[in-house]
Point group: C2
Chain length 455, copies 2
Amino acid sequence: MGPLIDDLRAFLGARLLTSEAARAQHAENEAWYPPALPDAVARPATTEEVAQILRACRAHKVPVVAQGARTSLEGHHLATRGGIAIDMTGMDRVLAIHAEDLDVVVQPGVTREALNRDLRATGLFFPIDPGANATLGGMAATRASGTAAVRYGTMREAVLALEVVQADGQIIRTGTRARKSSTGYDLTHLFVGSEGTLGIITELTLRLHGQPEAQSAAICRFDTVENAVDTVTTTIQMGLPMARIELVDDAMVRGFNLSSDAGLVESPHLFIEFHGTEAGVAETAATFGEIAAEHGGHDFTWSTLPEERARLWSMRHGAHYAMRALRPGARSISTDVCVPISALAEAVSTARHEGDKLGLVQVIVGHVGDGNFHCGILVDPEDRAEIDRAHAFAKTLSDLALRLGGTISGEHGIGLGKRSKMRAEHGPAIETMRAIKRALDPEDILNPGKLLPDD
Amino acid sequence: MGPLIDDLRAFLGARLLTSEAARAQHAENEAWYPPALPDAVARPATTEEVAQILRACRAHKVPVVAQGARTSLEGHHLATRGGIAIDMTGMDRVLAIHAEDLDVVVQPGVTREALNRDLRATGLFFPIDPGANATLGGMAATRASGTAAVRYGTMREAVLALEVVQADGQIIRTGTRARKSSTGYDLTHLFVGSEGTLGIITELTLRLHGQPEAQSAAICRFDTVENAVDTVTTTIQMGLPMARIELVDDAMVRGFNLSSDAGLVESPHLFIEFHGTEAGVAETAATFGEIAAEHGGHDFTWSTLPEERARLWSMRHGAHYAMRALRPGARSISTDVCVPISALAEAVSTARHEGDKLGLVQVIVGHVGDGNFHCGILVDPEDRAEIDRAHAFAKTLSDLALRLGGTISGEHGIGLGKRSKMRAEHGPAIETMRAIKRALDPEDILNPGKLLPDD
């Protein structure tokens, strides 16, 4: 490692960090994975520096992993085999706002909130919202989505073009600023979601949207989760243009009440948002209100007050922390299945039933308009048997999602945690993925041990 | 070739065609590429038969190219190196309609019109509409789009999942029926647009849309192409929800008048469609009418009569043939650049100016809501100098599109015709594509000589 450190220090100077504190800071994660110390942390300022780092790491056959805001829930950014962590947060400039084309060019260390602050005056916004204030590079690398995907899609739809540094230090550009193209292999989509295992994203061109003329937030209470889910299914099948439609079950509402005095009735709720013209929002909200009422919804109210919207989504985004109020000292394990909308009711019911059977403390929250929901299971970190039950539960849910035509991860990705389940979803296509990985990173230096299962 | 033919006949029987007539039929194309005779035509009925064909071709190192409706304008399906043409049109079953999930599972030989006939009773439709009644397998392989892409996206957005037979005969599945996923490399998007060079698509799961409550067609006349384009740019930048917005220039209108007595004033027109609720369509049409009027639009009229819509789009879809009326006996060469919307006016103006300067007979038609337009250049097939001028013109346009941040092909693909321009668009990313091709088809048997430039 010493010779590599010397090579890197030669051009990074003080932006190569080897202190215990810096390494420890870059070893942490939001989930329950053990910390993983990189041997050093590099803080590049330019694409060319990223390329130099990769050339050096390749020459020394040392692993390298890019890090953004480190908000991954699957340990994507952990340097589990040591090596160099490249902290991309210093590359945080918005390079060009093309308001007339509804796109923006950014460096990977820009966070989604910072981007939206910069866009405020333009009347445009970037809608992909995974909750955490993640970096856009990290969001692209993990194909993030979140609450607004039902209307605006995920990072899959949001990324128009990329600049990527490959394992050998070659800098390439994928895609263009044109809305569509049919010229060759879709490398943009190959890198989006590749979790840093095929290349390191150093620039992104992202699709923007016009701020809607009217936005309204709404909340609706149900007696049962099943009624709430049926409301969602009907809404989506009717093609009602929802901007967000989120399920929180009674346990999650209790978490909100405990952690932030939300003052909600402790039963399942839908949190909703509508975007459109004044007339369109009113029409959609009215139709939604009728659907909800038919499925036993109570107290459906909507509001166009920005502060009420902000309060609602701030509460929803705090779910990951609020759930911990239900069992202080516990750690959370989060599932992330996504199923066709017709199978959502069965999937959610099974999740509740199986969780109860195993005696697990859990909340259910979900981007249910996409068929995506999370079970947050609160486990005693000292209770091995309980942790095993939680993992067995997660496995049951993954198997169920596959049986229903869905996927084991709607948005959190594979990282470390779901590698062993990849074959169940992809079968022999795993070998296709492996062939691509070998072709683009023959030395396996790019985030090794992530995404693909062991041989 | 003889031993391979024997191997294939053993399991295909009469569905292996070696007659001159069958080979000649599969040697033709809609563009000006010379016919290319395959050595034999295979008509598989099942995925397993496609796999058997590929295993046999690989063992004998013989090229293989899949064919659908053969409506490609870039010679994608031509067996330029001989070998086996796999005619997929026999695999033409709609396997499952999941109306409640807005998706459908089809074999690759189903055409888009046949699919929409099957869907009629469901209230759903498949919106991707390249004009030709292409097969869905071919449309996915070439990342087709067409007139409705401004609203519904292209095959990139339409394909949820694929079954693919790889070069070694391995059958894989990519994607799921869930709306989103973050599990591993996005192989679905890698195969969409890969033009048969990475695998052969044997099944597709496609996203459907609800038939809009109201549809209206409209037509608007302008004095200049620039005014028409400025109308489009303003419309798109305002985020008006257009279902189609197509430019036809004065020459194209003359072609429609000559070929089908269209009776239109011979000046540039926009052909438009709105989808939505009754109220929404009326509101959008009114707003569009105002924008058009501000840019000198004349006689803007809209109608919800189905027969008027059908007549309008049938005329537009006939453009490829109608333009020939302008110069009987000529062949057409079609360009296909796509640029950011802010650059559309400059691109279209330059196209007209450069075409005139070179003395070319051309029409301009375009899916201008996406920034995509075609120059149809009518050349005397005996006049080498004129053909050279047309190609020089196409090169000028491609260079311009790249300079403006666009792409050399919005929807027709690369095939044979644009391979030499690939490096100008993709630079060193060509080597990334080549590495993927080598990894997935090491013997180069899958549609060799297409998409990628020569080494």
